[in-house]
Amino acid sequence: MADAEFNFRKEGAVGILSIKGSLDAHTTPQFDKQIKSILGKSSKIIIDMEKVDYIATAGLGVLIASFNDAKSAGGNIVISGMPDKIRHVFETMGFTKVLTIADSVAKALTMLK
């Protein structure tokens, strides 16, 4: 799967972005646009990565930038549902020490409420 699909919904004050597909250098500009648009509406965001099959450093860069923007606005970004191979990349790069990770969207919602 080489493309990415984005679906956004709100649960109260929390914005939830579900992503399906690959976040590589080709699709990262779409991801950047989506997350910037959401940050304009909410600073509490869940990024549901359950159906993400690949993330490149370009995608990780967008995540870090968005996380900083959300924190500056008094909110947070929680990443949920990462498959094992995506979690392995996050751990290797040290992103698990910086970003907030949850097993599921339900747990992420609890963390943000």
């Binding site: 493309d3 080709h26 490149a56 392995h88 990349v89 040290g94 020490k97």
Partner: protein
């Protein structure tokens, strides 16, 4: 032994998915587990992304139709060898210093992580540049007992 495979493809970001599938399917056939295969696909993806974004895009001497990539996969003793050839200007990943990821992230920086990925996920990286022909970067990874 799995036979040698070659993919010749235009150096465009929209082809990264095809390149990753080509590489990871071969790695799994050789015996790498899902995590090790994902490390290999990420190292190749980051290398190809660097070539496409920073070598081909800024080189007007190479017209878009000639910005091709050749990816050769070969099973070697107890591992995989991946050679990525391009027609761009000299680019040797070994000449870029490894970043300190923790320090990098604490300063909210993310550039340079592609090179870190290649060096961290692969066991050996060699580079060759031939005048008038371009670069060949060879990435090698060996099977671990857990694979």
């Amino acid at each position: 032994m799995v036979g040698k495979l070659i993919l010749k493809i235009q150096g465009e970001l929209s082809n990264l998915g095809k390149i990753r599938s080509f590489v990871s399917e071969y790695a799994v056939k050789i015996g790498f587990d899902e995590i090790a295969a994902s490390e290999i696909e990420m190292a190749v993806d980051e290398l190809c992304t660097n070539i496409i974004k920073y070598s081909y895009s800024y080189d007007p001497e190479i017209p878009p139709g000639k910005r091709d990539l050749e990816i050769e996969l070969e099973e070697v003793e107890n591992g995989i060898s991946i050679s990525v050839s391009d027609r761009g200007k000299p680019f040797d990943p070994n000449r870029f210093p490894s970043v300190d990821v923790e320090e990098h992230l604490s300063e909210k920086k993310t550039h340079g992580l592609g090179i870190f990925t290649m060096k961290n996920f692969m066991d050996r990286i060699t580079h060759e540049y031939r005048e008038g022909q371009g670069n060949t970067v060879k990435l090698v990874k060996y099977l671990r007992q857990s694979d």
